[in-house]
Symmetry: C2
Subunit: 405 residues, 2 copies
């Protein structure tokens, strides 16, 4: 049986994702698609528009057969750790290939780039260090250092976000000696960060979120996603009254920053080099999350890095917890189709990690960070609906939908 894995966030699931899933299936001749998906907080340090169960449903209706959660510890992370977590889950779930979208769109170019970097590693690391000492951010330092190595034209451009992620997937596959075959497909039309709609029916998730956050209704943007996404988003709005944005968590973050000591803050993951004093001071005067972010940003830290730090402060994610494991320790099932269920039944004994179907029946402590993050995510919703969402994390069984893909 041919099984392909994809790494996703689906915030929300749109036509570009639909295209990617179909292409992944077609390009690899796969019978089954497994998605590993970030939970309620995402790689860029943001709360997802709607919860992971709803997004898992979108994935199933869009063509995935199984959806596993990328644990918080790997999801709210820079590319390298994100890739380590995702690759370890897809490998353990039995994927034969990992298919990712990239700007480069050429798998062998990625392999060559990785070989090139491994060969030049000493010089590369040395250059990065030198650039960092001038005060620039890590991604900037890495990108400049890469250029200084004078890569040939047959290597990928490492200033583009999906190329960076792609390279990390391949590095993780190699370092974990996974048998998954990497496959890349060119991302269609919309760049990851594009904020404007660039084609008739394909738009980046960023532009869709922006439109919704600026007050456009689900109906106004629904040409960019399949009808299933549209229906699920509308349901979410009807049930919980709102989508999740940082603004809802700002009062909690502000409180947290006032309440805790600088020493306590220093235990939080990504709080380094005096950043704890900077954020504590800024929290007192800032009146909104965006104003707060503006007042703490520097050349040294990217917006994304700072947003991730804010999520960790919000969830109280400590360095000790975040650095505990290099690979995922469990496969938490968020959803499945009929075909996905059959696959799990027949492969139960061959899975590389323990399968977790329900948080309440899980070994004590194992999912602590994921459960806590989801509970805090629920606090973004006000009124009675908050309780509904709060309960969900612990009691919810994997969602079941039959794929339309």
């Amino acid at each position: 049986m041919e099984v392909v894995g994809v790494v996703v966030e689906y915030n929300p699931f749109h036509n570009g994702h639909q295209f990617h899933l179909s292409a992944a299936r077609a390009d690899t001749g796969a019978d089954l698609v497994i998605a590993v998906m970030s939970g309620n907080f995402l790689q860029r340090g943001e709360p997802a528009l709607c919860d992971k169960w709803t997004r898992a449903r979108m994935a199933l209706l869009g063509g995935a057969d199984l959806v596993f959660e990328l644990p918080y510890q790997f999801a709210v992370q820079q590319a390298e750790t994100f890739a380590d977590g995702a690759v370890s889950i897809l490998s353990a779930a039995g994927c034969r290939s990992l298919c990712f979208g990239s700007e480069a769109g050429d798998t062998s170019a990625f392999i060559r780039t990785l070989d090139f970097l491994e060969e030049k590693d000493t010089a590369y690391q040395h250059n990065i260090k030198a650039h960092l000492s001038t005060g620039v951010s890590y991604p900037k330092a890495a990108s400049l250092s890469f250029k200084e190595l004078q890569p040939g034209e047959n290597l990928v451009d490492l200033s583009l976000p999906n190329n960076i992620l792609g390279l990390q997937y391949i590095r993780a596959i190699r370092s974990q000696t996974s048998r998954m075959k990497p496959v890349t497909i060119t991302r269609k039309n919309a760049g990851y960060h594009d904020e404007h709609f660039s084609s008739e029916s394909i738009a980046s998730a960023t532009s869709i979120r922006k439109a919704i956050q600026e007050g456009q209704s689900v109906e106004q943007v629904n040409k960019y996603f399949p009808p299933t996404t549209s229906r699920l988003l509308q349901n979410y709005l009807n049930t919980y009254g709102q989508f999740h944005t940082w603004d809802q968590y700002w009062p909690l973050l502000k409180y947290r920053l006032i309440q805790c000591s600088a020493e306590e803050l220093r235990e939080i993951y990504e709080m380094e080099e005096g950043l704890e004093h900077r954020v504590k001071k800024a929290a007192i005067t800032a009146v909104s999350f965006s104003q707060f972010m503006e007042s703490i940003k520097t050349k040294r830290y990217t917006w994304t890095r700072l947003q991730r730090a804010c999520v960790h402060i919000l969830t109280n994610a400590k360095k000790t917890e975040m650095e505990e494991f290099k690979r995922a320790q469990y496969l938490r099932l968020l959803g499945m189709t009929q075909k996905g269920r059959r696959y799990l039944q027949s492969h139960k004994k061959n899975l590389g990690l323990p399968l977790v179907s329900k948080a309440s029946s899980c070994r004590k402590g194992e999912l602590d960070l994921d459960i806590k993050a989801s509970r805090i995510y629920s606090l973004g919703i006000s009124g009675r609906a908050q309780e509904e969402l709060l309960k969900k994390e612990f009691a919810q069984s994997p969602v079941f939908e039959d794929s339309i893909g």
Copy 2:
């Protein structure tokens, strides 16, 4: 110069307080009244209806000449520590007497009771221990043990809240070898906890707060306080849009309890004997502060004790911080009249503790807990007014009003 001290919370200042201030002045023949007042969080573990600057103003207009803040470390405490803090401040400020209201109303009866308890201390402590082991609360155990000592009729009844406090003032005066003379006057008409209005113009602060919290306007209850209180309360409402109640802090307390670990909670003052697990669990399902309190209460802990613990969780007040000092370390001036100012000018060199007039000009770290508590108190207010209140704590100079007393 005859100077009398009073220990107050003024939440809010009402006719009974006015009576007490006048009586304190008359009974002691004092030229000057110094009040030591709890800050924004009170002895019973509640946020004050309005902030300490407004309440200091009420005190000055009601007849006090100087108002000092009882630091958080002593204010949000059981009677013994509360009294230790208050007595150390009034002594250091130069009071010749301390005048307190009590149910007993007979100073010599308090002295006899204290002598009696000191003499019977071994048996008393032994009985308390025995009662505590049956699971009752400390106040209950102390009250039962006192009765078992068969106190004569000329001692005070230690089941009444103001008698308990009064006894602690006298104990603190003795243990600190303060030269202050204790004087008590009978509390007029309304018992501390009376929730119903019991006379034409005197009502307990509890009943006034209850009426306001249940939606009565300031106007509807203004016969119970002087016009100055009425005006200040109405101003507060106009400026900040609301009075402070636990309900406003419930979302923050709930978040805090979900976010922190049981180990972290155990460092909080008054978190003992597994209470940390109990409160963490209850926070997840409770939908309001009162529901939360109902679900955590036991025979062992009084409501007040649990409310105080909740304030400490909210403000992140650690055991180490709360237990650091047995007496106050500074005199933080909240307000003064012309006469109070002259007194301070002429007695500057004789004060027993350093005078702090403005938080921003204070030694680093000294006021940390008070400043933090006030900032968190500000978060109870929503919108732009929150920022106003937040700034106040650090920038405010002592308020100045001329006494009408």
